[in-house]
């Protein structure tokens, strides 16, 4: 995998909007709550090469943070729903 060239901008904007909307739906968030999604790369042994990190900026100073061990493009609605039961 060409990590250096794996720009975060390469993620599909439609998928991003879709995942954000799944998050808002699953966590029953009101419209004014920001959801932040990023993909982090890792080269450590045993780590998935790309993880999707989701932060829900609901309460100032206490964002809720979740990780899904796959790239954003592979995230499914069931992955998001399962976060609510963790």
């Amino acid at each position: 995998m060409l990590k250096f060239f794996n720009s975060q901008k390469q993620s599909d904007p439609q998928q991003l909007i879709q995942v954000k909307s799944w998050v808002s739906q699953a966590f029953d968030l009101s419209e004014d709550i920001s959801v932040m999604i990023t993909q982090l790369q890792c080269t450590e042994e045993g780590c998935p090469p790309i993880e999707t990190v989701i932060a829900i900026m609901e309460t100032p100073g206490k964002p809720r943070q979740y990780k899904i061990h796959k790239p954003l493009a592979e995230v499914k609605q069931t992955d998001i729903v399962s976060l609510t039961t963790d």
Binding site: M1, L2, K3, F4, F5, S7, Q8, K9, S11, P13, L16, I17, K20, D32, S34, M36, I37, T38, Q39, L40, Q41, C42, T43, E44, C47, E51, V53, A55, M57, P60, G61, P63, Q65, K67, L72
Partner: protein
Amino acid sequence: MNTAMLNNQVPVTVLTGFLGSGKTTLLNRILTENHGKRIAVIENEFGEIGVDNDLVIGAEEEIFEMNNGCICCTVRGDLIRILGNLMKRRDKFDYIMVETTGLADPGPVAQTFFMDTEMQEKLQLDSVTTVVDAKHIWQHIDDSDEAREQIAFADVILLNKIDLVTEEELNQLEARIRSMNGAAKIYRTKNTVVEMDKILNVGGFDLDRAMEVDPQFMEPEYPFEWAGVYNLSAGTHELVLQEGPDPTMKVALVPVNESTDEALKTAVEPVVMVFSDDEHELSAGGTLQPGGQLIALNLTADELRFDVQIGRSGAYALFTEHHPDEFQAQLFGSGALVKPVVEREFKPDHEHDDEVTSVGITTPGDLDPDRLNDWISDLLRTKGIDIFRMKGILSIKGQPNRFVFQGVHMLFDGRPARPWDGEPRYNSLIFIGRNLDRTELTEGFEACLA
């Protein structure tokens, strides 16, 4: 039109600087200038000094860490929330200014714009602009991490309040700042008066303009710090020095075609070769002659005078290992001071053991993509906390286009840019950060060459 405008992104300027540096004065100036932009302001020091604008939003500095165990990114939660809500009123403004507190670390602010994929698409961090109080910065530059980081992160630095310091103090400060951040554009201002196009839409984080940096910074390291071209008539001149920080100074005097910057440039590479030769020591009272010899002036005598013998009138370039000011070196002809017609510095005046420095690497050739990936991944994982900013243009083997990239700590963004189209392929990159090891970075990078 810049990239942000083409992509319908909102440009964002982050304004940093210590309290009292002139940050709010600059902000008010930006808001009242007739540039036709509607500017939304996110202010950390909300209400402290009135900012005249309809769209001012107060922010509480709220830092949080996004991490996956290996990569750790500190972002500003307050900004994410504010920007998210602000973008719902996208039709109300064309530009966003974020004013940080005097003690804010610009790292989390800048990383915020690299973190969220949607934010990257809608907003374009245009620049980090830092206002420096030229008189009082000396109180902070040595003992404040925030002051150093604000300088290190900056794309644009305003050396403000220049009316309160001397020209010499300004030169000294600028050299110090330049040694910490070789990539920033530095402007000297009084009351933060500066043309708006130096502050707005400067494209500091624009990949297409990533390498528009000070050309001096991108040059390789030279064995000399200064060169000057003199018009010298045939006969004997005198080089007079005072005791300085070193017991010797290497110099080379070579004839050049004319007393122009171009002529000086053509002499640079041959003189680099001269400086790699064995040196010939010359004691005070000795005679220096033009030619391809490296002369080490012995500066241990009480009176440091050297004759300079010129056979034929013309332009001559003197290259000196250290800046002549360090030894108060002056050239005299017939008892009168002879000043250089053209001069050029190859390094900042004074080298400091600053923990915050810039490392620039320029090298021709193509890079092996796999090796480059491994190196940069490892570098960011192990040193990402200390690398504040990095940017560069790369020549990847087999790729017809330049690859440009830009990063903040462990986050980066890169993509192919315009094709090489037969131009000589090269790599040029800069790291700005804390405790950077120039040799290690250069060797690591060069090992990625195909």
